[in-house]
C-alpha cells in the first residue's frame, strides 16, 4: 500500500487566483464532467441497442414478450400452483418464482433460528458448546455453497430407501428417495369458519398480551401469555372446523406402482437445497449475532445479573433487544444473500425461478427477454426484502428508544 507519510512534492499554486478562468471553475467543471458522463452513457447505450438490433435482425429474431403466452411443453418436478406441460411459458416462470419465494422464506426462518442459537452458543461459558459452534462456523462458511448443495444432495439421497421400502411414520407420512410424502389437506365449503376462528384467536391473543403488559406495568405480576394463548391459537381452527361440520379431509398418500399418488411431496432436491442454504447462511447469521451481542456493553449483562435475572432472561430481555440494533442491518444483507443464493437450485434441478427461466430461454430461444425478466424479478425480490428489513429496523429502533 502507499505510504501514508508521503507528502506532495510541491504545493500546487492556488487555482486561478484572480482571473477566475472558467476552466478552473469547480461548478462548471462539475457540470461539464456530468454532461460528459451522460453523453458517454447515451453513446454506450445506443451502441448496445444498435448492435443488439443488428444481431437480432441477422438471426431473424425480434424483441418481445409475446412468447410468454405460448405453451411451454415441459414439466416441472414440483410447483405450488397448478402446472403441466400445457401451461404457458409465463406460468412456468411464475411457478419458478413461487418456488424461489418458498425456499427463500423457509430458508430465512430456519437459518435465523439456527444462526441465533449457534451465535449464542459460541459465547457460551461451556467450552465444548462454544467449541462445537466455532467448529461448525469455521468449517461450513469456508466451503462453497454450490459444493455443499451437491454434497447434501448426495447425503440426502444415499441413505434413504426406495419407495417400496419407504420409512413410514404413523402410516401416513412416507420418507424415501423420492422425497417426503404427506397427507394433503382438502378443505370443503365451510372451511372459512375455521379460518375465522383462527383470526379471532390471533386478535384475542393480541388484546390479551396488551392487557397482560398493562397488568405487569401496574402490579409487576407476569402473566404467562404465550403459555395460555398458543394452545388456543392452535386449537381454534379445529374448533371452528368442528362447528362447521368438519369440512376437512386428507388425501392420504398411497403407493401405486412406482410412486405415491395423492398427498403432498417435498422432493429431495428441495430438501438438499434448503438444508444447504440453511446450514450455510446460519454460520453467517451466527457471526452477526455474536458480534452484535459482543457489541452490547459488558455492564448491561453485569447489571442484569445483579438484578437477579437468569442468563437466559438476561439474554432475552436485556442483551438481545439491544444487540438487535447492531444485528439487523447485516442480518438484512444475509437474507438478501440467501435469496440470491437460492438460484443455485439450478445445480440440483429444483425448479426455482432461475431453473424455470433457463429452461424457458432454452426452449423458446428468447435469451434477452428471459435474462431481463430474471434480473427484474430478482432485483424486486431483493428490494422487497431490503424494504421489509428497513421497516423492521426502524421498529426495533423505536422500541429501543
Amino acid at each position: 500500500m502507499t505510504d501514508i507519510s508521503q507528502q506532495p512534492k510541491s504545493v500546487p499554486p492556488p487555482a486561478a487566483a484572480s482571473g477566475e478562468s472558467w476552466f478552473y471553475n469547480p461548478k462548471i467543471r462539475g457540470y461539464a464532467s456530468q454532461i460528459i458522463v451522460v453523453l458517454l452513457l447515451l453513446w454506450g447505450l445506443s451502441e448496445i441497442i444498435g448492435n443488439t438490433q443488428a444481431n437480432l435482425k441477422k438471426l431473424n429474431q425480434n424483441f418481445g414478450f409475446d412468447f410468454l403466452t405460448q405453451a411451454a411443453g415441459f414439466d416441472l418436478s414440483t410447483s405450488l400452483i397448478e402446472y403441466s406441460s400445457n401451461s404457458t411459458y409465463g406460468r412456468a416462470i411464475v411457478a419458478g418464482l413461487l418456488n424461489t419465494i418458498l425456499v427463500a422464506v423457509l430458508g430465512i426462518i430456519f437459518a435465523t433460528i439456527i444462526g441465533f442459537v449457534v451465535g449464542v452458543m459460541r459465547l457460551s461459558k461451556n467450552r465444548v458448546v462454544a467449541g462445537a459452534a466455532t467448529l461448525y462456523i469455521e468449517l461450513i462458511r469456508n466451503i462453497p455453497l454450490l459444493l455443499q448443495i451437491f454434497m447434501w444432495y448426495a447425503l440426502v439421497l444415499k441413505p434413504l430407501p426406495g419407495v417400496k421400502d419407504a420409512y413410514s411414520f404413523f402410516g401416513s407420512i412416507f420418507l424415501s428417495k423420492k422425497g417426503i410424502v404427506m397427507p394433503h389437506p382438502n378443505f370443503g365449503s365451510g372451511a372459512w369458519i375455521g379460518l375465522l376462528f383462527l383470526i379471532v384467536a390471533l386478535i384475542g391473543t393480541w388484546l390479551f398480551r396488551k392487557r397482560a403488559r398493562k397488568r405487569q406495568d401496574e402490579t409487576g405480576k407476569i402473566t404467562p401469555v404465550w403459555l395460555i394463548s398458543i394452545p388456543i391459537i392452535i386449537l381454534s381452527p379445529f374448533v371452528g372446523l368442528a362447528l362447521a361440520g368438519w369440512p376437512l379431509h386428507f388425501d392420504y398418500p398411497e403407493l401405486k406402482g412406482f410412486n405415491f399418488t395423492s398427498g403432498m411431496t417435498i422432493v429431495p432436491e428441495m430438501a438438499a437445497l434448503l438444508i444447504a442454504l440453511i446450514v450455510y447462511s446460519a454460520t453467517f447469521i451466527a457471526e452477526t449475532v455474536r458480534s452484535g451481542i459482543q457489541a452490547v456493553s459488558h455492564g448491561q449483562s453485569e447489571a442484569s445479573s445483579a438484578l437477579g435475572l437468569s442468563r437466559g432472561m438476561a439474554l432475552r430481555l436485556v442483551i438481545i433487544p439491544q444487540a438487535m440494533r447492531v444485528i439487523i442491518p447485516p442480518l438484512a444483507s444475509q437474507y438478501l444473500n440467501l435469496t440470491k443464493n437460492s438460484s443455485l437450485a439450478i445445480a440440483v434441478g429444483f425448479p426455482d425461478l432461475m431453473y424455470a427461466g433457463g429452461t424457458v430461454n432454452n426452449q423458446s430461444g428468447k435469451a434477452i427477454e428471459v435474462v431481463f425478466i430474471l434480473m427484474v424479478v430478482y432485483l424486486s425480490l431483493s428490494l422487497l426484502t431490503a424494504a421489509f428489513m428497513n421497516w423492521f429496523n426502524s421498529r426495533m429502533k423505536m422500541v429501543e428508544r
Binding site: 438471426l59 431473424n60 414439466d75 418436478s77 439421497l157 434441478g349 429452461t359 435469451a367
Partner: protein, 344 residues
C-alpha cells in the same frame, strides 16, 4: 470509421476476437481454425480424453469441415456446451458450427435464426430402467419418476408421450448430464431417458452397466445434425456438402485408405467427388472442380475422406464401441435413410 471501431474493440477484447458476421467462411479461413460447439462429454459423439483430445461422430464432422475448408482436419477448436447454452452460443457467434447431437425441429429451424445442415445421425428417444425393476415396456411406466436433462427436446417428447398414452409421470430434470446419471444411479428416479444412442453411450459410465436395460420403445424422431446460423448461405453450403461428401464417398466406395488410388478411377462420379481433372479428347485438361462453387479448393472432398474418412468409417470408428448397429443410418441403398444428392 466502422473498421476503426472494430479494431479498437478487438484490441480491448483481445484474447481471441473471432469474427461472427455473415461471412463465416471467410472468417474461418482468416483465423485458420473452425470453432466447433460440442457436448460436454458423450461417448461416441463428442468426448474428451485425459489430455483433451476429442473423439466422436460429431467431433469427426467438425474435423471434416476443417479438412474441407482449411485442408487440415486438426484445425478445430472445441467449445463444450451444455444443452442450455448451445443455441445461444451459435446465435451469438461464439462458435462457427454446432455439432452437438442437436435435434432438428421446426421451431429451432424457423424461430431461432438457425439452420440445420443435414441429419448426420437418425436417432429416437428411448428409456433405460434398472433390470431389477422388471419392466419390459415403456407402457408399463405409469406413475414413474423420470430423470432427464433440462432444455432438451427429450424433456418435451417425454411430456407428449405420457400424455398421449394417458400415463402419469414425475419429472426429475437436471442442468448437467453428470447429475442426471448420478441421480438415476442413486435411485432418485425409476427411468432414465435420452436419445437411444445416448443411452448406450452413458451406460458405459455406470458403476454397474450390467444392471440396466434399454426398453424397446422409441418414442420420438430425433434427427441429429450440425447447425449453422441462418442467412449465411456460403457457410451453410460448406457444412451441408461436407456431410454429403462423406455419404457420397461411402456410396462410391472411397475410403481414407484407398482415396489416393481412387484418384485414378475411371468412374466419373468419383472423379467429380475428388475433383480429378479429366482429359479432353484433344489432350487438354477439362476442369472438374466442384469445390469452386463452395468457395473451397479442389481438394475439399479429398481432404475430408483422406483425413477423416467416409460416413461409414466415421460411424464404425465412433459407434461400434457402443454396439450400435447402422440401422436407419445405413445408406439409402442398404435400407437406411442416409441419402446424399449427387455431385454434378
Amino acid at each position: 470509421m466502422k473498421l476503426l471501431k472494430l479494431l479498437a474493440l478487438s484490441t480491448v477484447f483481445g484474447l481471441t476476437a473471432a469474427a461472427a458476421n455473415a461471412a463465416t467462411l471467410d472468417d474461418v479461413k482468416a483465423k485458420g481454425f473452425v470453432q466447433c460447439g460440442v457436448s460436454q462429454g458423450l461417448i461416441g459423439f463428442s468426448n474428451p480424453d485425459e489430455s483433451n483430445n476429442w473423439t466422436g461422430l460429431d467431433v469427426d464432422f467438425c474435423k471434416a469441415v476443417a479438412a474441407a475448408v482449411l485442408g487440415d482436419a486438426t484445425k478445430v477448436k472445441y467449445s463444450p456446451l451444455s444443452a442450455k447454452e448451445r443455441f445461444t452460443a451459435l446465435q451469438s457467434g461464439a462458435i462457427d458450427v454446432l455439432s452437438r447431437n442437436s435435434t432438428w425441429t421446426m421451431s429451432r429451424d424457423t424461430t431461432l435464426g438457425l439452420s440445420f445442415a443435414g441429419v448426420t445421425y437418425y436417432d429416437g428417444q428411448g428409456f433405460m430402467v434398472p433390470t431389477k425393476l422388471g419392466v419390459k415396456s415403456a407402457l408399463e411406466l405409469n406413475g414413474a419418476s423420470v430423470c432427464t436433462q433440462t432444455g432438451t427436446t427429450t424433456e418435451l417428447n417425454l411430456a407428449d408421450y405420457f400424455k398421449a398414452n394417458k400415463m402419469e409421470y414425475k419429472i426429475v430434470a437436471f442442468e448437467k448430464n453428470e447429475e442426471v446419471l448420478k441421480a438415476y444411479q442413486e435411485g432418485r428416479c425409476d427411468v432414465f431417458t435420452t436419445d437411444q444412442s445416448g443411452l448406450y453411450a452413458e451406460v458405459l459410465k455406470f458403476a454397474n452397466p450390467a444392471d440396466h436395460m434399454v426398453l424397446p420403445e422409441i418414442i420420438s424422431k430425433e434427427p441429429l445434425g450440425p447447425v449453422v446460423r441462418q442467412g449465411d448461405a456460403a457457410w451453410f453450403n460448406v457444412v451441408k456438402w461436407t456431410y454429403y461428401a462423406t455419404l457420397n464417398a461411402e456410396e462410391l466406395g472411397v475410403t481414407s485408405k484407398n482415396v489416393d488410388e481412387m484418384k485414378a478411377s475411371a468412374n466419373p462420379e468419383i472423379q467429380r467427388l475428388l475433383s480429378v481433372k479429366v482429359k479432353n479428347p484433344d489432350g487438354t485438361d477439362a476442369d472438374n472442380d466442384f469445390g469452386k462453387g463452395l468457395g473451397l479448393g479442389p481438394d475439399w472432398a479429398y481432404n475430408i475422406v483422406k483425413q477423416v474418412g467416409n460416413y461409414g468409417e466415421i460411424f464404425e470408428r465412433n459407434l461400434a464401441q457402443l454396439k450400435i448397429a447402422r440401422g436407419k443410418n445405413a445408406l439409402w441403398n442398404a435400407g437406411g435413410l442416409q441419402y446424399a444428392p449427387p455431385i454434378r
